[in-house]
Symmetry: C2
């Protein structure tokens, strides 16, 4: 994961797994660091003023002491003491102001943490997820999805498959997680998929080097009021640029600040790279090294040739894969956002590099949403609403195909229930992108952890296919057949080796290579000179000197050839989805609380759209009797036949409690059976209820759950359940 | 995988991954071995006769030579030569007969192999699957699903989720593949999930020991006519019982037969166990050993407590998981049937061991299908059609819940398209089952490899939960609250330690333990003796002698206690599905060929039911013009809106060729656009075509693809497309 950037410095990709191989990295790191990247003006002036007041207090103190020592007149001394006290008061006022400035930003993070804790508690209590292997005290960075979590995940993946694979006719593949080394050597992961690690020199405990430096700077900034404005600015600068540190630079900073192991205070080793892939060995001999794949993309690249033939040797086409990926994090933090095993959904759209238009771009060109182009980031502006069509037309987004996917990702995320005000597409800065990449945009979702990269959409040019072509020796190329053959002129340089050998002896080879390496302009100039003068001076760079080339030593000509096709390596545009992150952000965006009827407690609600809700409907017989039980069975059978997942709750608890339980799971509709002729249907968010005949109940729920009707339609078409009766129930 | 059976011998489970932890194993191994287990009567008598004829020829040859040596009379010598020639002719006739017997059974396997090759070629050519990492020359035992394979897999899994999880209200979980060692230590996999391996002593190449022995015996039996009937019987016996060989026995047989490394003929090492789990290490320290899970079941067991609470602390309930499992095979064979990474779908149904009835058993009790109970296997009978209800009533199937799942598995497999005549449920023999298992049945599907275990359905009693309870120290139990408290009598034995100490000094502890270990009968007898005689002789096994116990040394009584609940470890009934195997068998069952119209070639057809077909419908504009293109767009849009996956084929090739291409992918319906008012719909298997209005086309295809109508209904409701026109097209 420390990849060499084009400029030779090493950079790190924050959420690298979404934007893998060789992409250089964000200056911005874990999203919280953005809170520190700009030095707040108030804070700066307060720190400045505090430092001035401290100096004034100190020098006035000295002045008072000097007056006393020189036994100056009492009024003179009293005046000096008055001034000292005044200065002390002023200093203390500034101190208080700074304190309150710092803690108010601190309170923000406290609120975020309290909110997160409420969400996470609910998720864990209702088994949306479970720390894996809990009875054995777990393993950090590994989580199970429990029943409602599985249902949400399965809904998200079904919709992904529908929205991308089926609607776009993509070629789905499903490759193994176990991957032989040669594949990941070609992709660069064996050499470069690393994080910098330091070890406690006495206990051997491992830490991520950048985490320690970040924690140190953050704590200093948040809790230490005595540091000067200059020092504070330095820490903020370190936080902003530490992404770009080499191992040596990072090590030097850790030494400079005297950072030690957090628990033991022991000294730390120098930072060194740790490969994040889980290693294993394939077969019984132990001779075939393998890894658990760190992303699913490579499985698609190595199949390019077969897929291209399957697609009738036509471009563009897209292949897609949904599957597990693995990353042996040094010290996972951020709960469900940074885990050691996760589900990725990746698309590789292969396209002619000379034509990146998209036939369906007009379907998304009118969309408007928050975009954060490079220029706005560099000039300190905020993300702004842009029309996608204009962004492509103006060249803000590099090409139509990239733009099309940005639009489709926007539609995918917002239909899932991601709040469009807390979703933005952020363009990579020039130094974040790999040298070969044409353009990259991340779909970032705002959560209690800050802005989280959840989808990366990158135009990766021909990089990946070329890497596997080179390593495997199998040409991963496409052809464009010309409608009729094209005549092309080709330069032909034929060095006459015999004459060159006689003239240059041991240097012959260097001269031949230099002659052959001439471009068209150089060659045609030489040809002209040789024809007019019979001799020419020629610089051979591998010899570092000029040699004299005579007419009989080389023949240069242009020949006409007919070409029937163009052979090229396709470009790949890669939208890559971190499914677990999207789901976690969805949980936060859908979570809310509301007071119970009695007002004595806050009830949790997940306002999932029916599309992702783990269960679409619950069925409650009001009381336990045979009549209601029969009616419940009828409804259940009909719901099953129309494919609506549902649950029957026959516990004797009050309907209000049962609604609360169901709200906390995000179930959008509840059917209460309180008669054998008609029932009530209650909608989760409005808590409104309508009365519907027993026979119609399943089909009404099915229509509204599948988006064929809105709840407003239902509300307009059926008698409302009297609020008195509703009151009675809740 | 070599698990210790209750009898102390080691056994091996053929398709262990479906029936994991500690189940002892089938006597039957890879299904082909069943072709050899019984010595065919004809073959036996032929071998006998051939051996007799050979002896006769030999002794008559000797006789002739003796006559010649003794210069006997010519007529006598001629008569002897005539007899020799006659015997030689007889021997040769028998030899031919045996040869033909052997090769006819050989032909059977040739036919099976030719069929398999045709299926596999089609699957690979149409990218149903691809050997993984092909451009790097692949890794044996790893396969990718290509686009149609992915679609089939996704359909199979969706149906599985619908049929089991949704219809049965199971609790789905999704756990990581990376698993810490402690979990797999508890389950027994770390110690016992092994195969026996031998190494080429010079090159180090590894082989599965049983494979080499099996290959040797099979080849001898099939190709060597000179072996005696006794020797042939011996080889058949070895094939039948080699499952039960210890490493030493297996090694001895390999030595006895002089088996060497197949490629080099080098000597082989002794067999030794090789653990089949892919090993890795979790976290950066390298101190937490981990494995890629060999099955998904353990993830469910370790979550039992949370799931039980989630289910309102009620039994029975089932949890389910679909996911990847890993198995580092020594030398994978049998193509897609034995692979190193595969998708499992497992159910763990937790039930009160005292009540294994099932409320929905009556839904399946009338089903009749091929069952192969233990008794029929032991007495050499064939599998037979049984009524499930009767099989449970008669105790052939141990309990209703097990029977219910057998029935549900039957419905699942046959609805997918598995031929019910080539599906049987085979009961495990007593020596195949682990000592704790109550009953096990395998759903076996017949393929070109023989009968393949695709689903295992086992009543595993309380084994798994107990193993994790013991290892983790967390009680994995359920409670049954009594409606009213039950009065129970409990035996109370109180050794009086002071008196025992005085009497037995250093032996006191042994005596106390022995007293406390008495069962009720022993204790009550002692009580009676002490009361009548004041003293009793008592054998302390840990001391190996009798001691004399006096009345004051122990008090024995029965106390009545009120119990409010019963606490117990639930039994688990585990249906475990090898998804890849089911899909492969489905491919074979659905594959057929039929002559092309011209009769000059055989065309391949996959007769998938619409439920699993990778694409439900293709749309063919008859010729490329704007009118048909518009109509095609209308149909495509409508198909998308009713959720029918489809593909448009606008290539200029003939409709006949396009139908053939689509048949080979198993697409059940094709819409040919040959007008802008109406279109034809063609059904794949009958090749029948009806004419339907443009507007209705999508809804007709959707109804028949989703099973709301049959093709017969369609055929009866719409005008048939004239055969003349159809001829023109095909």
């Amino acid at each position: 994961m420390r990849f060499l950037s084009p400029l030779g410095s090493t950079r790190r990709q924050i959420f690298f797994y979404l934007l893998p191989q060789f992409q250089a990295n964000s200056i911005r790191r874990e999203s919280t660091s953005s809170f520190h990247t700009t030095m707040d003006a108030t804070e700066q002036s307060l720190r400045q003023s505090l430092s001035e007041k401290s100096s004034s207090v100190e020098s006035q103190g000295n002045a008072v002491r000097a007056l006393k020592a020189s036994r100056a007149a009492k009024p003179e001394i009293d005046a000096a003491i008055d001034l000292l006290n005044k200065l002390k008061l002023e200093k203390s006022a500034v101190e208080k102001q700074l304190q309150s400035t710092m803690s108010s930003s601190g309170n923000g993070s406290l609120n975020r943490e309290a909110f997160r804790q409420a969400v996470v508690n609910t998720l864990e209590r209702r088994l949306f997820y479970i720390p894996s292997f809990k009875i054995y005290r777990g393993v950090s960075g590994l989580f199970d999805y429990g029943p409602p979590g599985c249902a949400v995940k399965s809904n998200v993946l079904s919709f992904w498959r529908q929205h991308f694979i089926l609607e776009e006719n993509m070629l789905e593949v499903d490759c193994p997680c176990v991957t032989p080394e040669v594949v990941l050597k070609a992709s660069g992961h064996v050499d470069k998929f690393t994080d910098l690690m330091v070890k406690d020199e006495k206990t051997g405990t491992c830490y991520r080097a950048d985490h320690l430096l970040k924690d140190y700077c953050t704590e200093k900034l948040e809790k230490d009021l005595t540091i000067s404005a200059e020092k504070a600015a330095e820490f903020k600068d370190v936080l902003a640029v530490m992404e770009d540190y080499s191992p040596e630079e990072l090590g030097a900073k850790i030494k400079e600040y005297g950072i030690t192991a957090p628990d033991t205070k022991n000294p730390l080793s120098d930072p060194y790279p740790f490969n994040l892939m889980f290693q294993t060995s394939i077969g019984p001999s132990g001779l075939i090294p393998g890894y658990m794949r760190p992303e699913t993309a490579q499985g698609i690249f190595v199949n390019f040739k077969d897929l291209y033939y399957y697609n009738g040797r036509k471009l563009p086409f897209a292949a897609a894969q949904i599957g597990q990926a693995f990353r042996n994090e040094i010290s996972p933090r951020q709960g469900l956002l940074r885990v050691r095993e996760f589900t990725l959904a990746e698309i590789e759209h292969f396209v002619d590099p000379e034509n990146k238009s998209h036939p369906k771009f007009s379907d998304v060109s009118k969309l408007e949403f928050l975009m954060f182009p490079r220029e706005e980031q560099m000039s300190g502006q905020a993300a702004k609403k842009l029309c996608l069509g204009e962004a492509v037309a103006k060249g803000t987004v590099n090409n139509e195909t990239l733009g099309y996917f940005i639009g489709r990702v926007y539609l995918f995320l917002t239909r899932l229930g991601i709040d469009k005000e807390r979703l933005r597409f952020r363009q990579h800065l020039a130094n974040e992108m790999a040298h070969y990449a044409a353009d990259c945009w991340d779909a970032e979702i705002e959560s209690s952890y800050g802005w989280i990269e959840c989808v990366g959409i990158a135009d990766r040019s021909a990089y990946d296919l070329r890497a596997h072509s080179d390593k495997s020796g199998v040409a991963l190329v496409a052809e464009e057949k010309y409608a009729e053959p094209k005549e092309v002129e080709k330069l032909v340089i034929n060095p006459v080796k015999k004459e060159l050998g006689l003239a240059f002896k041991g240097n012959q080879k260097n001269v031949v290579e230099s002659l052959e390496a001439m471009n068209e302009k150089e060659a045609m100039e030489m040809k002209a000179t040789l024809e007019s003068k019979g001799e020419v001076e020629f610089y051979v760079c591998t010899l570092g000197k000029n040699v004299s080339i005579k007419k009989n030593m080389v023949s240069i000509s242009k020949e006409k050839k007919k070409e029937h096709q163009r052979v090229f390596t396709p470009s790949v545009i890669e939208p890559s989805f971190g499914i677990g992150r999207i789901i976690y952000c969805l949980y936060e965006h859908c979570f809310s609380t509301r007071p119970s009827k009695a007002g004595d407690e806050q009830l949790n609600v997940f306002r999932f759209p029916p599309l992702v809700a783990p269960i679409k409907c619950t069925v409650f017989p009001l009381v336990q009797n045979q009549q209601f039980e029969e009616a419940t069975k009828v409804i259940s059978k009909e719901l099953t036949s129309v494919g609506i997942s549902h649950k029957i709750d026959i516990t004797g608890t009050s309907i209000g409690k049962r609604y609360a339980r169901t709200d906390e799971l995000g179930v959008p509709f509840a059917i209460t059976v309180d008669s054998d002729a008609s029932v009530t249907i209650r909608e989760r968010d409005s808590k409104d209820q309508v009365r519907v005949s027993l026979k119609e109940a399943a089909s009404v729920v099915s229509s509204v759950a599948e988006g064929k009707m809105t709840w407003q339609d239902v509300w307009a078409s059926f008698p409302h359940h009297s609020s008195a009766a509703a009151d009675e129930q809740e």
